[in-house]
């Protein structure tokens, strides 16, 4: 199982801070495609972190990992 944290407008849109999906292993790109279809969200501008580190689209997410969907940041 992969835990997915969501923030800002995504959190409001998806109605919660945390989702889970069931995969043993999946690339970031595939995971985003799945989430885009399942939740009708645009993922072009979403960055992804695996276990609190930014990931590339070809990086592998494994069961037990925590993924974060990170919309364009606006701190400061």
């Amino acid at each position: 199982m992969i835990n997915i944290k969501v923030f800002a407008h995504l959190r409001e849109k998806l109605g919660g801070e945390q989702l889970t999906v069931d995969h043993t292993e999946i690339t970031v790109k595939e995971l985003l495609q799945e989430l885009a279809e399942k939740y009708s969200i645009k993922t072009d501008s979403i960055m992804v972190a695996i276990n609190e580190e930014y990931a590339d689209s070809e990086d592998l997410v494994q069961s037990g990992d925590t993924v974060a969907l990170i919309p364009p940041v606006s701190g400061g």
Partner: protein, 157 residues
């Protein structure tokens, strides 16, 4: 945790406290950046702001900015505290303190830090106006990250 150099907190931020962390005998210059909530942005009146963070990752990213600064300015010491939650006009959102032996480096390193915060630190700002509210940085979808992560250098105002 209050002693850490890189903090995300829901408490008000003390300029003195962040600054004290970088004071040292070798340094003759400290530059602070203090980001406060501005009332008007492009003619539109802000009533308040809400900051949300992914705190554990945000603190790691702030520490990463500190490391990047030390690669570019080996003599610099950096401390950053960013607040989350509801902020009113003129409240402090972020304090960045950088000390260096010579002042030019303190200005340059400090400005580098705020640019990087706006690129890589998972913190989001929601503006509350008289006629609505909006998460900043996302709704126009005018940014995209084809690589799935931020570029090393990217300038946003």
């Amino acid at each position: 945790m209050k002693n850490s150099m890189f903090i995300i907190t829901s408490e008000p931020v003390s300029i003195e406290e962040v600054t004290q962390k970088v004071v040292r005998r070798e340094a003759g210059a400290i530059v602070n950046f203090i980001g406060t909530v501005r009332e008007f942005t492009k003619g539109k009146r802000t009533l308040s702001l809400q900051y949300e963070a992914y705190p554990s990752m945000a603190e790691k990213q702030l520490a990463k900015i500190g490391e990047e600064i030390n690669e570019k300015w080996p003599d610099a010491i950096t401390a950053i505290t960013h607040r989350t939650g509801k902020l009113d006009i003129s409240d402090i959102a972020v304090v960045i303190a950088v000390s260096t032996p010579h002042r030019k480096d303190a200005y340059a390193a400090n400005e580098y830090a705020i640019e990087r915060i706006k690129q890589i630190v998972p913190i989001w700002k929601k503006e509350q106006w008289e006629d609505g509210e909006e998460w900043i940085g996302d709704q126009l979808e005018n940014k995209s990250y084809p690589k799935g992560k931020p570029e090393e250098v990217e300038n946003n105002d």
